[in-house]
Subunit: 385 residues, 2 copies
DNA sequence: CACTCTTGGAGAAACGTATCTCCGGGGGCT
DNA sequence: AGCCCCCGGAGATACGTTTCTCCAAGAGTG
């Protein structure tokens, strides 16, 4: 076989129509080998700059675009990161966390792109074949439920998984979460200082980490200060149920004089419910809710909100994940022990590394009993861990 | 080479650690050939059910997961669809269209997953290598600017492109858009019927299709009914500029008694501006804005909004794109002429197929001068094309 | 019985890249 | 002069599928 025959490649008889230029075509056109083209384009190997630029020029002229599929097959890296959110209905995103998710996803997308990765959105409930059909370098999971089979399988098959929300029993590479306990305690203190005597809670029925930790923090605080808990729960994924629960909470005989709502729409719901009962905010009822929406800056009155800083979370989660991806593969395998707490090792290696991110309390009129002379002064340092 | 040696594969000496099972391993374990495994798992070929189920069982037992990269390389299909939005700043999504984009993306994700595809979000401005590193079966482009080089290159390289928003000079496979002219005319008629004498417009400075068509429709209407145009423009991607522009509009000597705002935050902005000038809505000022947010149902007063139905758009766009993807490849190439108006053909093949989707006017108190006896009655059939 | 048809399945060639291995040759050093 | 080393690059293999082609054997059929 002559060199020319070899370089011109294996297009024996069938000259396909409108074939895209491959690396072989570039090599042939530049009069070099495939190796040289690959090295020149990827900045590897030892080549004089002259060869490198010449090859690049030829590639450009031919409109050469390397095949992502072939590269992925060869290198084992796709540059793709999955972004998974636990779904409650048939929609790929949840409703209650919509603003949070949108912000978080946006930040995650930015962070990933900044490091050369792209994000693909995959609901946890999607059919399994979709998951299997995509080469993922790693996955971000938002608030995985305990014993999530999807996370377990991903982890088992060697795909790094970083979760937003402290995981229950799922084995993950790392996780990031807010310090929900500190956040709730901070709000309760804030409301107390504003004069609240009996603080109520509007919370959810689901068992995700956020709901659970927040509710536990509330109950613990009640036990500590000796207040009888006053709370209502509702399925947070049902957009209509929130208003009903808000109404229930304010209709109770032991009606609270301050309420914290765990979910985004609670502020609007509680405000509407307060109007129905003739309660004035903040005079008769102090209000705080957890939300990423800035509509609460312009409600009447503006409502104090707790921000979970989804942008920071999204950025951190993605960076941790990419660190794991690149750390694993770049080394000789030594890092695996650190980044993948192996399932075979006996206990004692400790839980996966977690990071707590600060929240931010945005104090507005709804949680200040009288003249709002100082508008910004979170009673507890938000960065506290 | 014996059959056994061949089937056991080419793992000569280096027994890699913890290797994932490949199709060869399944074939060896099941005592059949690779072909049979592939056929059994993909439902192809002619195999008795017994063999099929046996192979499937062995694959399951070994935890076999086909390599997406290899499959993509071989079949030329990745099951991945790009979702691109034109960016104005450094963020991957635009701000002004945020709710619209979020809804549209959610619907698109659902539709894609329903057909076995996944969506990857790629800002048009992202570095070129990210685009080149991902095997995309097709791309959805939101509101491409005229002569978008990215779209042109995608199209040239044979990737189907469907755009949300009628494209200017970009060659696309198909496009979907609202009938913006009909929508604006419908709103203007609606406001006129509500008693408006001079209708103002809050619009943007950018040249995207939505802004352009809407503004032109407004100007045309003004010319027709003999009203002097009263409008202010501002860079829609600047979240702060909207409030300023709203203020400018209401500060004019020829202050309008009704305003339509083209962008999501305009409702809030105009409401705030009206308060500053002591104008009561709807008594002194009728208000309509284009928004997908339901916060306008609970403002004081509730504001009439125009919905562009992003969910329908997202679903339609994705389905058109997947039709193109699968139509092209399934046939013998005959369909190419229909789905890809070839650039070589002389003019006369007509523009790419476009679909106009209806909008929906959600009438609330802000656009009804007196007692809101009938709360739902769009003055013009929203489905009109 | 000779033949064709159908069934069930095996072989091997791609897909396009990255990378490991190896090699010729020229220049410097002893 | 002989040796070693480094520069510049070529060859070949592997990544893990899908799929085209082909074959053996048994079942019908005249």
């Amino acid at each position: 076989m002559t060199a020319a025959a070899n370089q011109s490649g294996r297009r024996p008889t069938t000259s396909r129509r409108l074939e895209r230029a491959g690396i072989r075509d570039v090599a042939a056109a530049a009069g070099v080998s495939i190796t040289t083209v690959s090295d020149a384009l990827n900045g590897k190997g030892r080549l004089p700059d002259e060869t490198r630029s010449r090859v690049r020029e030829v590639a450009e002229r031919l409109g050469y675009r390397p095949s992502a599929a072939a590269r992925t097959l060869r290198t084992g890296r796709s540059g793709l990161i999955g972004l998974t959110v636990t779904t409650y209905g048939e929609e790929p995103f949840t409703f209650t966390e919509f603003a949070y998710f949108a912000e978080m996803a946006r930040a995650a997308t930015s962070a990933a792109l900044g490091r050369g990765y792209a994000l693909v959105v995959l609901p946890a409930s999607s059919r399994h074949d979709v998951w299997g059909n995509i080469a993922l370098d790693g996955t971000v999971v938002i608030d995985p439920p305990d014993q999530d089979p999807l996370v377990s399988e991903l982890y088992r098959s060697g795909v790094p998984v970083v979760s937003d929300g402290k995981p229950g029993n799922c084995p993950v590479t790392a996780w990031v979460d807010n310090d929900h306990e500190a956040a709730v305690l901070g709000i309760l203190d804030h409301l107390s200082e504003a004069g609240a005597r009996r603080i109520g809670l509007l919370t959810g029925t689901s068992t995700d980490t956020y709901t659970r930790l927040s509710t536990e923090a509330y109950l613990g605080w009640c036990a500590k200060v000796g207040q009888e808990p006053v709370y209502e729960t509702y399925p947070a994924h049902d957009p209509a149920a929130g208003a009903v629960a808000a109404d229930r909470l304010l209709a109770r005989p032991d009606r609270p004089d301050a309420v914290y709502g765990l979910f985004d729409p609670n502020g609007t719901d509680l405000l509407a419910a307060a109007r129905r009962y003739g309660l004035r905010v903040p005079d008769d009822l102090l209000l705080v809710c957890c939300s990423e929406s800035d509509v609460y800056a312009t409600t009447e009155p503006p409502i104090t909100t707790l921000s979970l800083k989804p942008r920071k979370i999204g950025t951190t989660v993605v960076n941790l994940l990419i660190d794991a991806i690149e750390g694993v593969d770049s080394g000789t395998g030594v890092d695996i022990a650190r980044l993948f707490p192996p399932r075979f090792r006996t206990a004692g290696t400790g839980p996966p590394p977690g990071t707590l991110m600060p929240t931010e309390l945005i104090v507005r009129a709804s949680s200040q009993r009288r003249s709002p002379r100082t508008t910004v002064s979170p009673p507890r340092a938000p960065g506290e861990v």
